[in-house]
Each structure stands twice: as C-alpha cells, then as structure tokens.
C-alpha cells in the first residue's frame, strides 16, 4: 500500500517522473514501428530543443556580446554588428537575398583564417609528437624499453600504411598496393575499436534509461 502511494503521481515530484517515463516509452515505441504516439513526442522534442536554444545560445550571447558592451561598458561601435548580422535574414528575399552572402562570406572567411591556427595547434603538435618517438636505443633515451621500442615501430608502421591507403594521387599497384591493403586492415582495427566504444557509450545511456524506469519510476532498488 505504501509502495502504491509512493508510486502514483500524487505530488509534483512524482508527476514529473511519470512524464519522464512517458517520454522514454514514447521514443522507444519506434522500435515496434512508426506510430502517432512516437510522432507526437518527436515533434515535441524538436520544438522543445529549438525553444531551449533561444535562451542560452540566443539571448545570453546577445546580452553578453552586444547589450553589455554597449549599455554597460559604453563601447558604442558594437551597435553596428547586429544590424549587419540581420543581413542574414534577407536570405528568404528574392530581390535582396544576395546581401545575406556578405555575412556568410564574413563567417566563412573567418573560419578559414582560424583554421590556420587550428592546423598549427592541433595537427602540427600531433606530427611533432609522432616524429619524436625514438626508434633506437641511444644515450638521449635512457628510459626506453624493448616494449616501448616495439610499440613505437607498430605506431609508425600503422600510421604510414593507413596514410598510404588514403593516398589517391597515383595508382596503387605492386608493393604499394600491398602496403595499402595492410593499411586498410589496420584501419579496420581502428574502426572496430571506435565501433566498440560507441556501442558501449550507447549501452551506458540505455542502462541509464532502464535504471530510471526501474529505480525512479517503479521504485525497485537496483544495484548496491
């Protein structure tokens, strides 16, 4: 009797748990087949997600980077940014549509310029660390063990074979084709590992949902 009292949605805290479970079941109903119950919650999900983004991504940024600099700090030049950004909204106009490309051009140009920085801070660092791997015993590498040395050779071999597989500038035949095939197999190991990790991450979410239904909704004690 006490369990039933706690289970039923008689308080706000219980009602919201019931709503959460209803959402979960509605989404999982797709596993049976496409149905109106799923479609209802799917549209609600899209509406809620789009509506939510207006707060932290719209109003918050507008306040932090436009209203605050102008009306709190007094930097008046920022006043020109929003009207210029509003050019984007002319994209739906047949006559003035081209002005939206001024803003899109600015965004694309800036992204391209920023990629130089990203290339340096991300890829060159990786290249550097790859090339610094010791491949023989020397006085400058006193801590190098046989195990580490083998690992370094394996690392380099996989890197070079996979890169050979992705080189399409010339026809792959003979020895190069053999190396590229080995690269494809190594790539399968990498993709298998990613696949395994992705499955486990999704399983963790699935377990989380099952835990929510069993523990929070049905009030069944699960685990320790």
């Amino acid at each position: 009797m006490e369990w039933l009292q706690n289970f039923l949605p008689l308080t706000f805290d219980r009602a919201v748990v019931w709503i959460g479970v209803l959402c979960t079941i509605a989404i999982y109903s797709l596993l049976y087949r496409e149905n109106p119950f799923y479609r209802f919650f799917e549209h609600m999900y899209i509406g809620l997600a789009a509506g939510y983004s207006l707060g932290p991504l719209g109003v918050d940024i507008l306040y932090r980077y436009w209203i605050e600099p102008i009306w709190v700090q007094g930097y008046w030049a920022w006043a020109f940014v929003v009207p210029f950004g509003l050019y984007l909204y002319f994209i739906y106009s047949e006559r003035y549509g081209w002005v939206s490309r001024l803003v899109i051009g600015l965004l694309i140009g800036a992204s391209a310029g920023l990629f130089f920085q990203e290339f340096s801070s991300r890829y060159l660092v990786q290249l550097n660390s790859t090339l610094q791997r010791p491949l023989w015993f020397s006085a400058s590498n006193p801590d190098l063990t046989v195990g580490n040395l083998i690992q370094n050779y394996i690392f380099l071999a996989i890197l070079l074979t996979v890169m050979t597989y992705f080189t399409f500038s010339y026809q792959q035949k003979g020895t190069v084709k053999g190396i590229a095939t080995a690269g494809r197999w190594f790539l399968m190991i990498g993709l298998g590992a990613i696949f395994g990790n992705t499955v486990m991450a999704r399983m963790a979410l699935l377990i989380g949902r099952a835990y929510y239904i069993l523990s929070d909704w049905l009030l069944i004690r699960v685990g320790g």
């Binding site: 609600m44 008046w76 130089f116 890169m163 190991i189 993709l191 979410l205």
Partner: protein, 280 residues
C-alpha cells in the same frame, strides 16, 4: 574620437548611435542594390578575403616577448563578433523551422497537427528558457512558476527525450552491426573481432573472464620483466582492449586526422580565396 562613452551620463548618445546604426546599415541595402552582379560578387569575395586575412595575419605575423603582435588585442573582440553573428544565424534557423511549420498549419497540410505540437512546445519552452536566462542575470524575477515550469520542461521532458533518443541508437547500431558482420570478408572479420574485444574488455565481464575464469594476471608487469613475461602479464581482455585502443587505434586515428587536417587546410585556402564558387 573616443570609442567608449559613459553609459550613465551619455545614455541618450548611446541610444542615438544604436538607432543611427540600424538606420545606416539597413539603409545601405538599397544603395548596395545598385551594384551590378560582378560588383556584388567582388564585395562578397573582398569581405571573405579580409575576414580570413585578419586571422591568418594575426597568426603569421612575428610576435614580441609577450607572444603578441599588433593584431593580437583585436582577436578577442573579433571572436566575440563571430559569436554574435553566430547567435543571429541560430535565430535564422529557428525562423526557418517556425516558418515551415506555420505554413503546414495555415495550409492544413498532411499531419499538420504535429506542427501544432511543435509550435506550442517551441513557444512554451522559448518563453521559459528566455525568462530563465534573464533571471540568471538578475534582469527578471525568479518566481516558483519559472522554477517549476523550467524544471518540468527541461529536466523532466527535454533531457529525458534527449537521453531516450540517443539510447535508441544502441538498437540501430546492433542492427547495423549484424548486417555488416554478415558480409564475410577479412575486413569485416577484423572489425568484428576488434569490436568484440573492446566491448567485452572495457566492462567488468572482461575482467571476470580473464582474471577469475582463465586465471590471467591482473597485476601490472613487474620491473625488469623479460619480453615473454611482459606478454604473459598482458593477455587479459581489459589489458588487450586498452592496448588496442592506445597502440593500434591511436595511430590509425592519427593517420585519418592528418588526412582531415591536410584536406581541411586545402579547403580553408579555397574558401578564403573564394575559389569554391557555390558559396560566395
């Protein structure tokens, strides 16, 4: 000319400048319209090039002892500007979504009822999300209505739907894997074997099979162990899974990343110089 005004004393000036900026920038459109198609393209190409040049120049220009050059102080405001325009672009996406579903409702297209659901949930959530953002900045009152409504809409509806939607993918991954692994090739076998080892190795089941059932050593390799001893100490599934992830997966990933990096750099240069015709 001063770039900063005193908001307390010169608020009238600030309002006048903001209004003037709107009139000036939006009033520029009829003038821009006079440009011939080649002139318009030249303007877009010029803005694209200058925007890219600014960030590229800041990166390539020599720096002083403080790791700065003459453009460095302008980087943060430039990034803020991009954030601001990005936020306006988000509004454009939202506008497109609402426009489409409003059309569905007005024209009573097939299944327009779902568009009503979307619009109602959008308006409700937008109202409370904006109110909540303003309340966090102490620009609006934080009432129990706001707290309960936002909790209901965000924590107990949106978050739940989000988690359910993403966990649903687990089923489709299994289904896709079943179909993929039915193709009997060396590549599919390698992929399946690696995935199995990683999946079992990273959960307690892998440790149970390796250490409790098969009796492999769970201890780390002792100092000064021979190569054979090292191998014997690392045959447990969790250690093999870890080795696959760090020693076999990492170089394959890095090779892919190098390819992505070089391709990205080539594409960035093409975009910067407006050689990609379809965009600018």
């Amino acid at each position: 000319m001063t770039w900063q005004l005193n908001p307390q004393d010169q608020w009238l000036w600030i309002w006048a400048i903001v209004l003037g900026a709107f009139v000036l920038v939006l009033g520029l459109i009829p003038l821009l319209q006079v440009l011939p198609p080649r002139g318009r393209r030249a303007l877009v190409v010029g803005i694209t090039f200058l925007a890219g040049l600014f960030f590229a120049a800041e990166f390539f220009m020599p720096v002083n002892e403080e790791q700065k050059n003459m453009l460095t102080p302008a980087i943060q405001p430039a990034q803020n500007l991009l954030q601001l325009i990005g936020a306006l672009a988000l509004g454009l996406g939202t506008y497109g979504l609402v426009r489409l579903h409003l059309k569905n409702v007005v024209q009573k297209r097939t299944q327009w009822g779902y568009s009503v659901v979307l619009l109602v949930s959008f308006v409700t959530m937008a109202f409370f999300s904006i109110w909540n953002t303003l309340a966090e900045k102490e620009l609006a009152p934080k009432t129990p209505l706001l707290e309960n409504s936002f909790k209901l809409l965000f924590d107990f509806t949106l978050v739940q739907l989000d988690a359910a939607m993403f966990s649903l993918i687990a089923f489709y991954i299994f289904s896709a894997a079943y179909r993929a692994f039915r193709i009997r090739s060396i590549e599919a076998s390698i992929l399946m074997f690696t995935a199995m080892v990683v999946m079992i190795g990273v959960v307690p089941l892998g440790a149970y099979i390796s250490y409790d059932l098969m009796g492999f050593s769970a201890e780390p390799t002792p100092e000064g162990a021979s190569f054979v001893q090292m191998l014997v100490h690392n045959l447990g599934l969790p250690k093999v899974a870890n080795w696959i992830l760090t020693s076999l997966n990492a170089p394959a990933q890095r090779a892919i990343e190098f390819g992505v990096g070089i391709g990205g750099l080539a594409m960035a240069i093409r975009l910067w110089l407006s050689l990609e015709r379809g965009i600018t």
